[in-house]
C-alpha cells in the first residue's frame, strides 16, 4: 500500500516535471480530451439531470411544508456545485475513463508495447501518462460545469412540476442566483481538478505496473477504480475542510 503510494507520488512528480513538453504533445492531449468528452459528456449530463431532480424531490416537499420552498434553488445548486457534481462526476470518470486508461496501459505492458517504447528511447511517462493526466484534468472540471447546469435544470423541472413542491421556475432560479457564489463554483472546480489528477495518476500507475497477462489487466482495472474512489472520498473531506475559507468569497 505505502509502496504503491510512493510510486504514485513519484509518477505524479515525473508527470509534473514533464509539463513543459505539453505544448509539443498537444495533439495527443487533444485526442485524449476528445475521447474523454465523447465517452462521458452525455452520461454526465444525464446523471446530473437526475441527481438534481432527486435532490429537489427529496428536499422540496419538506422545505415547502415549512414554508421554505423558495430556498430550494439555492439548496439544490449548492449541494450540486460544492459536493455532488464534483464527487459524482469523479466517480463516473474513475469508472469510465480511469478503468479504460488502466486497461489500455495494462494491455500495452502485457503485450510489451511499453518495453518497446523504452527501447526506442521514448519515455512512457512522457508518451502515455502526461497526455492522459493533462486531458483528464481539463475534462473533469469541464464536465462538472455541464453537470452543474443540467443538475440545476433537473432540480428546476422537478420543483416546478411537482405539486407537493410547487416552486416556480423564476423563484427557483432567483434563489439560486441569490445564494450561489462564484467561490462555490470554484470550490467544486478545484475539487474536481484534484480528483482528476488522482484518477489519472492512480489509473496510469495501475496500468504501468500490470503483471501477469490478461488476468493482471483485470486486476489492475479493478484496483484503479477502487483506489481512485477511495482517494476521491478521503480527499473530498480533506479538500472540503481546506476550502472552507473560500465560502466567504465573491457573490454573483
Amino acid at each position: 500500500m505505502f509502496q504503491n503510494l510512493g510510486e504514485m507520488l513519484m509518477l505524479l512528480g515525473a508527470t509534473l516535471r514533464a509539463l513543459p513538453r505539453v505544448w509539443r504533445d498537444r495533439r495527443k492531449v487533444g485526442e485524449q480530451l476528445f475521447d474523454i468528452g465523447n465517452a462521458s459528456l452525455f452520461m454526465a449530463c444525464t446523471l446530473s439531470l437526475f441527481i438534481g431532480g432527486v435532490l429537489a424531490l427529496q428536499t422540496g416537499p419538506v422545505l415547502s411544508e415549512r414554508g421554505l420552498g423558495s430556498s430550494l434553488g439555492g439548496l439544490v445548486a449548492l449541494g450540486l456545485c460544492k459536493e455532488l457534481a464534483p464527487v459524482m462526476m469523479a466517480v463516473l470518470i474513475a469508472g469510465r475513463i480511469g478503468s479504460a486508461m488502466a486497461a489500455e496501459l495494462g494491455s500495452m505492458r502485457v503485450y510489451q508495447e511499453i518495453d518497446a517504447l523504452r527501447t526506442l528511447n521514448i519515455n512512457p511517462i512522457h508518451y502515455l501518462v502526461v497526455p492522459r493526466v493533462i486531458a483528464i484534468s481539463i475534462a473533469l472540471p469541464c464536465l462538472v460545469v455541464f453537470a452543474n447546469l443540467t443538475g440545476w435544470l433537473g432540480g428546476a423541472v422537478v420543483a416546478s412540476m411537482n405539486d407537493r413542491i410547487g416552486v416556480s421556475w423564476n423563484a427557483y432560479f432567483g434563489n439560486l442566483r441569490q445564494v450561489v457564489e462564484f467561490s462555490d463554483l470554484a470550490n467544486g472546480m478545484i475539487k474536481s481538478f484534484v480528483f482528476a489528477v488522482v484518477i489519472g495518476v492512480v489509473s496510469c500507475h495501475q496500468g504501468l505496473t500490470t503483471l501477469g497477462g490478461p488476468r493482471g489487466v483485470g486486476r489492475s482495472v479493478t484496483k484503479a477504480v477502487v483506489n481512485s474512489i477511495v482517494f476521491i472520498l478521503v480527499l473530498d473531506y480533506v479538500l472540503t475542510r481546506l476550502l472552507l475559507p473560500l465560502d466567504k468569497g465573491w457573490r454573483f
Binding site: S107, M108, Y111, E113, D115, A116, T119, L120, N121, I122
Partner: protein
C-alpha cells in the same frame, strides 16, 4: 533502398559474472561470455532458462544484481548508453503499438524525437518496410489487421529505423508456421549481412538457430553450458543439450493401437 550494405558496423558485447534473481528465484547464474562484433549470436535453451531475461539486460530493461554487461566499452547500465550506441530490439509479441498504423509504428522513434521532417520519415518508413519485403499497401493498416508473420516483419522494420549497431531478437519465429519462420530467419540473416549489425537472437527453435547462427550459446537454468559454432555445438556432450537437440515427436506403437 537507402540503406547501403554494412552501413553500420556492429559492436561487441561482453558479459561478466551476470547474476539476476526475481524474489528467491535466481534466473541468471553468473553468465560469462563474449558476443563478437557483427556476428549472428543465437542464445538457445529450454523454456525458462533465462534467455529473454538476458536479452532484457542487454537492452537495459533490467539491471543485473551483480556482474556487468559492456556494450562496446561502456556498461549497458550507464546513463545514455542508448544514445551513444544504436540498439534495437524485436520483441516476441512484436511490441507494436496497436493504436498506431504500421507506418506510424515504424517511424515512431523518428517522429517522437523529431529527428527528421515528415517527408523524410515517410521515405525512411517505406524504405525499411521494403527491406523486410512489405509493400506500401500495409503502411496504413493497423497491426491487428496483419498476420503474425507480417507483424514480426513490421517489428523488424521498426528496429531497423535507427540503423542499429546491435539488434536483439526475442523468439522471432514463435507462433509462426514453418514457412513464415523460414522467411523470418532468412530476413534476419540477410539484414545481418547487409547492415553488419551484431545480431543476438534468443530462440528455442533449433532449425532457426542452426540455420542462421555464426555462434550458438546454450543456456540451462541460468547457466551457460555450451558455446561455439553450430558444428561445435552439435559435437558437444551435455545431457540437456543432447536431449534438447534430439527431442522429436514420435508416435509410439501404443498410441497407434488406440
Amino acid at each position: 533502398m537507402t540503406m547501403p550494405p554494412n552501413s553500420s558496423n556492429g559492436i561487441p558485447v561482453s558479459i561478466r559474472s551476470l547474476r539476476k534473481s526475481f524474489g528467491h528465484q535466481e534466473v541468471l547464474k553468473g553468465l560469462e561470455f563474449e558476443i563478437r562484433s557483427g556476428e549472428v549470436f543465437v542464445l538457445m535453451g529450454p523454456s525458462g532458462s533465462g534467455k529473454s531475461v538476458f536479452l532484457r539486460h542487454l537492452i537495459g530493461l533490467e539491471s543485473p544484481d551483480s556482474g556487468e554487461i559492456r556494450i562496446g566499452n561502456e556498461l549497458a547500465t550507464a546513463e545514455g548508453v542508448g544514445d551513444r550506441f544504436r540498439l534495437a530490439m524485436v520483441f516476441q509479441s512484436g511490441g507494436l503499438l496497436n493504436s498506431l498504423t504500421v507506418a506510424e509504428n515504424v517511424g515512431l522513434m523518428l517522429t517522437e524525437h523529431r529527428l527528421k521532417s515528415p517527408d523524410e520519415i515517410q521515405k525512411i518508413v517505406a524504405d525499411r518496410l521494403a527491406l523486410v519485403r512489405l509493400g506500401p499497401e500495409v503502411a496504413g493498416k493497423l497491426p491487428s489487421e496483419l498476420s503474425g508473420g507480417m507483424r514480426k516483419r513490421v517489428a523488424i522494420a521498426r528496429a531497423l529505423v535507427s540503423d542499429p549497431q546491435l539488434i536483439l531478437y526475442d523468439e522471432p519465429t514463435s507462433e509462426l508456421d514453418p514457412m513464415v519462420a523460414l522467411t523470418i530467419g532468412r530476413e534476419i540473416l540477410k539484414l545481418n549481412r547487409r547492415t553488419g549489425a551484431t545480431s543476438v537472437v534468443v530462440t528455442h527453435d533449433r532449425d532457426l538457430a542452426f540455420g542462421i547462427a555464426d555462434r550458438i550459446a546454450f543456456l540451462v537454468n541460468g547457466h551457460l553450458v555450451a558455446i561455439g559454432t553450430p558444428d561445435e555445438i552439435r559435437a558437444m556432450r551435455h545431457p540437456v543439450l543432447e536431449e534438447f537437440l534430439a527431442a522429436d515427436f514420435k508416435r509410439s506403437t501404443d498410441d497407434d493401437s488406440r
